[in-house]
Symmetry: C2
Subunit: 203 residues, 2 copies
C-alpha cells in the first residue's frame, strides 16, 4: 500500500497530467500554474531526453521546493536515423497540431519499407538539490501508412503496437499504459516514489 | 527473492567493487579487465556526477553489450561552496594517496567552524542503447578535525556520521552501507535491477 502523496509535475501538457494521474492514482500531481501558482516555462535546450527532463524537474523544484517530476519523451524512427527524437514535440515547428505533425512524419516515410520505431520516455524525479532519480524506457513498434484511432495524443495514431495488433491510439488508457514507454518508465519509478518523502538538508 | 544475475561494473576501483558485491550479494559484478577482457578507461569530462556516471556506464555497455552499472561519487563541503564535488577523486592531483587527499581537505578547512558536508553518489544502470536508470543519493555529516578509523576508503576517515557518532571509517561495512550515499543509492536501485533482464531491440 503506497501512502497518498503530492508531487509537482513539470509540464503544461494536460495529456501527460491525465496519464500520470491514471498511472499513479495514489499521487496528487500538482501543475505549476493551476495548483502551485507559479509561472513555469522551461526551454528544452538539452541534447538528450535526460538533460531536458532533469532541467525541467530541477527548475520546478527550485521554484516550489516540492519534489518534482518531469517527463521528456519522443519518437525515434529507424529509417530516419532516430529522428525526430528529442525534437518530436517541435517537429515541423512549434505551432503544428498533432495531426499535422504525424502527417509530416508519414510524408517523410513515403515509400519506406523499414517502418521500425521506438517511443522513448525519460522520467526524472528531483527530490532535493542533490538527490534525483531517473528512468528512461522505450516501446517498440512500427509507423503505420495511415493514422488509426482517436485515443492518446501526439504520434499515437500512426504508431502500431505489435503485441496488441492495434495502433497506440486504438488502445484504452489501461492497455496503453501496459505497453507504452511512459507506462513502463512509470512502473519502474513507482517503488521509488516514497523516497520523495525523506528530506535531507543538503542545500 | 531476487534472481542471480550478472552486471558489468564500470570501474577500476576495487573498493567500489567490494562495496557493490557486499550490497548486492545476488549479483555478480563483472570488472572490465578481470572478467570481461576489455581495456576500459573513460575520461570523466562531465560537469555533473550524472553525466560522468552515464558516460562510464554507456561506454562499458558499448564495449560489452552487458547491462552496465557505473558510480560517480564525491564529497561536497558547505564552507568550500560544494568543493571538491565532482573533482573529489582528483582533488590535489591524480596521483595522491587517499591520506594525502583528505589531509589537503583538512588543511583547507583549518579554523573553519562550519564543518557541514555531504557525500554524494550517482549510480547509473545502462540496460540497452535507449534505456537507463539513475539514482543520486546523499549522506549528511561533518568534516572532522583529524582522521579517525581505518575502514572504508577515500574521505571516510575525516567524515563524521552524526547518527552513529563515529567517522565513516570507524563503521563496519554493514553500518556504512546503512547510512552511506552509496548504500542509499543502491537500496533505491535494488528493486529496479531485474529490469536489466528485459531486452528490447532498439538499436
Amino acid at each position: 500500500m503506497i501512502k497518498p502523496m503530492k508531487i509537482a509535475l513539470a509540464t503544461q501538457n494536460l495529456h501527460k497530467h491525465r496519464e500520470f494521474s491514471q498511472m499513479f492514482p495514489e499521487i496528487t500531481f500538482l501543475l505549476p500554474d493551476d495548483h502551485l501558482g507559479v509561472a513555469f516555462h522551461h526551454e528544452e535546450t538539452g541534447s538528450t531526453y535526460l538533460e531536458n527532463a532533469l532541467g525541467k524537474a530541477r527548475a520546478l523544484y527550485e521554484l516550489t521546493g516540492v519534489p518534482s517530476l518531469a517527463d521528456d519523451s519522443g519518437l525515434s524512427v529507424k529509417a530516419l536515423e532516430g529522428a525526430p527524437g528529442i525534437m518530436s514535440a517541435r517537429y515541423g515547428g512549434d505551432s503544428l497540431s498533432d495531426q499535422k505533425r504525424y502527417s509530416l512524419l508519414l510524408s517523410h516515410l513515403e515509400g519506406e519499407t523499414d517502418r521500425r520505431a521506438w517511443f522513448v520516455c525519460c522520467l526524472v524525479l528531483v527530490l532535493d538539490p542533490l538527490r534525483h532519480i531517473s528512468v528512461q524506457e522505450t516501446s517498440e513498434g512500427e509507423i503505420l501508412l495511415e493514422p488509426r484511432g482517436i485515443q492518446g495524443f501526439g504520434y499515437d495514431p500512426v504508431f502500431f503496437v505489435p503485441s496488441f495488433g492495434r495502433s497506440m491510439a486504438e488502445l484504452t488508457p489501461e492497455e496503453k499504459h501496459q505497453v507504452s514507454h511512459r507506462g513502463r518508465a512509470a512502473r519502474l519509478l513507482r517503488p521509488l516514489m516514497p523516497a520523495a518523502e525523506h528530506k535531507e538538508d543538503n542545500r
